[in-house]
Amino acid sequence: MASESPPGASGAVAGAGANVAAALIGRFQKICGTEHVITHPHDLHAYRSDGLTHFQVMPAVAVLPNSAEEVQAVVRACHAARVPWVARGAGSGLSGGALPVADGVLLVLTRMNRILEVDLDNHLVVVEPGVTNTAVSAVVGPHFFYPPDPSSQTVCTIGGNVAENSGGAHCFKYGFTTNYVLGLDVVLTDGEMVTLGGHGEVDVPGYDLLGAFVGSEGTLGVATRITLRVIPAPEHTRTLVAFFGSVVAASAATSAVVAAGLTPCAIEMMDALSIAASEQMAHAGWPAEAGAALLVEFDGTLADCEAGFAELKAICVDTGSTQIRVARTAAERSVFWKMRKSAFPAAGRISGRYYVQDGVIPRTRLPEVMARVEELGAEHGLKVANVFHAGDGNLHPMVCYAGPDEAARAEKVATLILQACLDAGGSITGEHGVGVDKKGYMPRMFDEPDLAAFQKLRCAFDPDGLANPGKVMPTPRLCGEVPGPNRVHPLEAAGLAERF
């Protein structure tokens, strides 16, 4: 984690070097215009890291293309020089997925922020990768919306969402980015352009390379044109917050809601520490003595929503909720959500530094794993604030620390929490991605044959290892030649051996 040396310029793609980069820079300036090729260290500073700021690497150059053709030309030039490159959107990712490669090229896509097509008759929108997540819902509203809603949605880009398969608070009902991407124009690492999926059609003949690409963290190529499905905005929304004595009690309520066959569009949990922190920013006036808050939202047709909401309230009472507040107005609803969405920035008010984890567990294991998280914090003398997607079992524990001594302990606690998630049959990351941050944990979740199978896919797309090297996979790997069809072995030819 924090102590790890910068990944990247090693192995197959070593030695891009300042000289090669210098030769390339002139080429990039011709392609994109001098003002869109950043080389001065002061200017490059801003691009050293993404949202996971404890990893920082200086690229040789940041290039800001303005069209698919420019992206293609830049990638071709990198391919010819065998220089690695990393695509980057807004840089809001939390796993170091957009961390530059030392002496490599950073392909910044924020200038490509055009909405190319809005076709509501076919429920689709076509965008360039630099368009922000909220801009999509804005352009199709109020009658349609784009469901994936990561907390960073006002700044994060659709290109980044595609790379990370972003989720959000409403994915328990609506699913993830991958469920809404209908097609992609992708520039492969050799500069070839390929369309994955369709231009709005589903089940286009061929392998589901679209499904394999979404969530590949920029390691298979770069998307330059993205076709998204949008859906009719729900007629009605109801939101409540139910307070409980403890996270464990609120977890039991979550399970009861799901067991009743209800499908809220969001089930979000905050513990006492998170509530206290968020209260400083959102001023919702939630009870200070609450052990946990469960924010639950229903949407749908009026009749469906009201019926589900009534059942939900009954379940919260039955499972021991100490108080239920229903949002009566849009303003109240937005205060509820502000409490939830402020949780990460607000954590800064209770601790200058913290590790955020993104582990996932089967929802039914919430009570025991949350008890374990609390125990781990207490054992190591550290505060752990919890705010998470309870419906999905996607935890975001924030392990708070100060100073170098506590940093090591915090890292240990964070690691033990992830191990607890894996022990419960879960995953090391639900929505933040592996990037550089969690690549070291991959062997805890996957065995060698699994990693080798991942590598087969990666090599099919990027045999030279030029796209975002040093990410996802735990150790650098080479692709090697594609094995050819079976050839007759000399021993066979000589009649000394036979196949069976």
Binding site: E201, G206, Y207, T301, G430
Partner: protein, 350 residues
């Protein structure tokens, strides 16, 4: 080597060399786990879909996948390999949207897992989706983890009949734009003489109210509307029309929803997922007709299904080429360099 499950779709894809070895998933028939509280399940590839659904239904749940299932023999492995889907696709997505994890026996002799057993996970490449529709050409799926949904207590279906395809498809478009969260929205067309129908199914907590809104919207288009709670037969018929009868073939058309009237009008009979632009046309088994329809319906793509081998030899059942096929070939070479798994049957002769 040719992997087989329930043998309900063995004539899909191109005609490859005759298999020297057939690998049956029949004995991989265990429902490994039904994690009721987590709404997930782990199934071996040879589990029959009907058996799995029975087990889930006992606990008030279902796998929201309802492809045509002739004789009830379809297996979950076969559904993954073919990416076949049914009317529930409208509300719940395809198998690619419901699969969480996969175990694959690879041609290099290793067994790899991808994905996970939880409903949210982004660790590693999504090889589970890559297996969906790969027809066993990259390896043999031996086990899958899927997401389940609550089984709705009641469903209500609105059937709106009419003799004008344009009116039917306009009504479908109008319903698709309403915030009804329907679980299915289909069209059926049997030519101008027999006419066709728009079918909308609602589930959830208040299906009758939702169906009422849909019925009003369809009636406003001048269609003859009936509403029923006893709707299983209607949807079974809709599913069965995705498969060919004797002497016929099926063309599965991927179009934009706004092109569906033209697509359905191009054949004597067909069904479609109105919100997704996906149609199944029943056609005479004739190569010239397949070529003509492809030309007529482009840029929509047409995959030939349920066709006799002679027809599949005479006309490419996939009908596509280009950079995506070249990339698919690279994937095939990495996973199955010797061409052992179901060779010759996928796009571009993969």
């Amino acid at each position: 080597m040719r992997p087989v499950g329930g043998r309900t779709k063995t004539d899909w894809g191109g005609v490859g060399p005759a298999a020297e070895v057939e690998l049956s998933t029949r004995r991989l028939g265990h429902l490994v786990a039904h994690n009721e509280g987590d709404l997930t399940a782990v199934l071996e590839a040879g589990v029959r879909l009907t058996d799995a659904q029975t087990a889930f239904a006992d606990r008030g749940q279902r796998l929201s996948l309802d492809p045509p299932n002739p004789g009830g023999e379809a297996t979950i492995g076969g559904v993954v390999a073919t990416a076949d889907s049914g009317p529930l696709r409208h509300g719940h997505g395809a198998v690619r949207d419901l699969i969480l994890g996969v175990r694959i026996a690879l041609p290099d002799g290793t067994v790899a897992r991808a994905g996970s057993n939880v409903i949210k996970n982004v660790a590693g490449y999504d090889l589970a989706k890559l297996m969906c529709g790969a027809l066993g050409t990259l390896g043999v799926v031996t086990e899958v983890t899927v997401r389940l949904h609550p089984l709705p207590a009641h469903t209500v279906t609105v059937a709106a009949r009419g003799g004008d395809l344009g009116t039917l498809s306009q009504a479908a478009a109008a319903l698709a734009r309403l915030p009804l969260q329907l679980e299915a929205l289909d069209l059926r067309w049997d030519g101008p003489a027999a006419g066709g129908a728009l079918l909308a199914r609602s589930a959830g907590r208040a299906p009758a109210e939702v169906a009422g809104i849909a019925a009003t919207a369809a009636a406003a288009q001048g269609l003859e509307v009936t509403v029923t709670e006893d709707d299983d037969a209607t949807w079974a018929e809709q599913r069965s029309r995705q498969r060919a009868r004797d002497g016929e073939a099926v063309l599965r058309v991927s179009a934009l929803p706004t092109a569906l009237a033209a697509v359905l009008g191009a054949a004597p009979s067909g069904v479609a997922r109105a919100g997704l632009g996906l149609a199944w046309l029943r056609i005479p088994a004739d190569a010239a007709l397949v070529r003509r329809l492809r030309a007529e319906l482009a840029p929509a793509t047409c995959v030939l299904l349920d066709a006799p081998a002679e027809l599949r030899a005479a006309v490419d059942p996939w009908g596509v080429d280009g950079p995506a096929v070249a990339l698919a070939r690279r994937v095939k070479q990495r996973f199955d360099p010797a061409g052992v798994c179901n060779p010759g049957i996928h796009v571009g002769g993969i």
